[in-house]
Symmetry: C2
Subunit: 389 residues, 2 copies
């Protein structure tokens, strides 16, 4: 169900310099900044102001939410606590302390930024438990997804199931899910109930997204439509980013319209992220991604650019179908990547990503018309979609 | 995490006649009814009034809760809905209708009976969503437990994972879990938030119980203590029965003391049930249990009577240790059962079950002093612990 935002293909600790998405931007005045289209190599210039802002926002969110998370995890019975603390990167498998590669806290930062954007510091302070609940839900889905997908690595460490076994990873996920909803049930804020309902709905959508992902991977590439794979990505990646923003809005007393716009903002940004992540998965620099070149192609993954190439009806798409049907060999991968590109998969994904980001900006303007107030959400959206090729 | 109350070893559709637990009883005046100790063969007399009452209560609970459950399941995305409707016994694997072997609805019946006992018909009517939420949690844990335990059969049908695969069974479980908490988040009743917090806590305890169960099965029998196995049974079986009663009490506006007593009542009754279920697992009649003779012994299960036998320090316990260490062969099973009995495992379990049921009755009297009002809860407790040998 979870996406890979906390296990990004680029190094998460310090953002890479340069390159902002070529879409509406707070400064300078909503035009592309000319540092090249999505997915091009960075130029080594120092990071723009928004990037600094995003890093600051993420660090601040961690500082506000981590104590709530640690206190909540501390209430778990020992067996689930052990798995959870390992998964969060706060303990080694043997229970000794670890210095937390617990993800970038993008979702809690979105909750707090949305609350702050529409309700100021007071709303932000009131949303800490909700921000922690969103992060718990995200991590519950990661624990379960890793079991289902047999993924061996998460955040540069062995996945929980590969260390503790399937049963304990499933149980730890169930416990984090319950803990998330308990945090909201115990939250005295009057909107906590609405937030809980929204988060529960989101979990169900995440389940549908994970199901669709699994089903797509088992299907014949030529039979998958772009609509299907976009819907899957929205459910799997966009839904929780949207819910994070929407829940933040609830804590600011936002109107239904504002909450809906915040949800749409997060969803569109999530789709933009997924498109760019998929581009990097094919054409990314392995020194930056930490994955071997063309790992997604080697796994015959039906990522968004690949499906776009398949359905393009070009001569290259027929060639791609042949290549994808063959057993994977390392020397094929550059050729497959070039074929996806010739079939238009790379261009389509780049245009789609820019389009989704533009829509995200429109929704943000609808939800938070004041550009100053919207700055934090904008910076976070640009941060998650800023990826090197 | 779930226990086997909905997949009981006796036929669940119509309760067997005779035999009530030899403990405090509403009528006749709190003494054993003389129809033999727990676990003896029934005498074929018509069922007592409480048994009729329990069946009526269970049918009524089904009638009140099923519409809520069906409506809730109807909101799930198709892939999760399909697995859920199969698991509930309402659809075949191909999606065609099935006539629902969806369990006995003991937990929702307890929620409604507790609400009714302390708050009358109005409280009962207000607790329908909570009763459905409890049943959803129960079924979510069954779906996940079956994956972890690789159990192939549930309610006389192939388990969801064996039909739909692990991933879909895990996802359907996650979706039911979310649905349970959404029902409570959307419930306008003022106690819904407290009920949600309690249910979330219960899920965490169920997780701990399932973990302990898995860990116990992997341990050396002689190193397991009775305290450990009783704590496991309480977490795995007692916790949700207790929560069901406590949540019913919340909807009746019960005091903290009354809610605590209702919780303890359900826990003790749950432990009594588990003890009796374990007795039946060893000495039960396979024509009634639907399982081969000594299936628990063949699986070298560390059930409560077996652990009691192991720790008895008798010559028979040493003999049992040898027998349990040997590979299982059918001809051994009667001998193993006799050895457990000689080591005092059967007697201990019977006495414990009676003691737990007596404690349950004490807690019930504390929570609901009026015997007339307590009748429904008493009948349900006796129903779940009424098992033939």
């Amino acid at each position: 169900m979870g996406d890979s935002l906390t296990e990004s293909r680029t190094e998460p600790a310090m953002p890479a310099p340069g390159g902002r998405l070529g879409t509406a931007s707070r400064t300078p005045a909503g035009t592309p900044d000319g540092r090249g289209p999505i997915g091009t190599q960075r130029d080594g210039r120092p990071p723009p102001a928004e990037e600094h802002e995003a890093v600051t926002l993420l660090e601040r969110a961690r500082a506000e939410v981590d104590p709530v998370l640690r206190a909540a995890l501390g209430t778990l019975p020992a067996p689930m606590r052990r798995v959870a603390l390992y998964h969060f990167g706060w303990e080694q498998a043997d229970g000794s302390p670890a210095d937390g590669a617990s993800g970038k806290a993008i979702r809690p930062a979105l909750v707090l930024a949305a609350a702050s954007a529409l309700g100021g510091p007071e709303a932000r302070a009131g949303a800490a438990a909700a921000a922690a609940a969103v992060e718990l839900v995200h991590n519950f889905t990661l624990l379960h997804d890793d079991v289902m997908d047999r993924d061996a690595t998460r955040r540069h460490r062995p996945t929980a199931w590969s260390v503790f076994g399937d049963a304990d990873a499933i149980l730890a996920g169930d416990a984090l899910h319950a803990l998330a909803l308990r945090l909201l049930a115990e939250d005295p804020h009057p909107v906590a109930r609405a937030a809980a309902a929204r988060l529960a709905d989101c979990v169900i959508e995440l389940c549908a997204g994970q199901h669709a992902d699994t089903a797509l991977e088992g299907s014949v590439p030529g039979e998958v439509t772009l609509a299907e794979v976009l819907a899957m990505a929205e459910a799997k990646t966009g839904a929780l980013l949207g819910s994070a923003c929407a829940i933040g809005g609830l804590y600011a007393g936002a109107s239904d319209d504002e909450v809906a716009a915040l949800d749409a903002f997060g969803r569109e940004a999530g789709l933009a992220f997924q498109l760019i992540d998929d581009i990097i998965g094919i054409w990314g620099d392995p020194r930056r991604t930490g994955k071997p070149v063309g790992a997604d192609l080697a796994a015959r993954k039906k990522s968004l650019p690949v499906v776009a190439a398949f359905v393009s009806g070009t001569p290259a798409s027929a060639e791609l179908a042949e290549l994808y049907a063959r057993p994977s060999e390392k020397e094929d991968l550059d050729h497959i990547a070039a074929t996806v590109e010739r079939a238009g998969g790379r261009d389509w994904a780049q245009i789609q990503a820019a389009d989704r980001m533009a829509r995200a900006m429109q929704q943000l303007a609808r939800a938070v018309p004041d550009p100053e107030a919207a700055g934090g959400l904008l910076a976070l959206a640009e941060f998650v979609t800023r990826r090197s090729s």
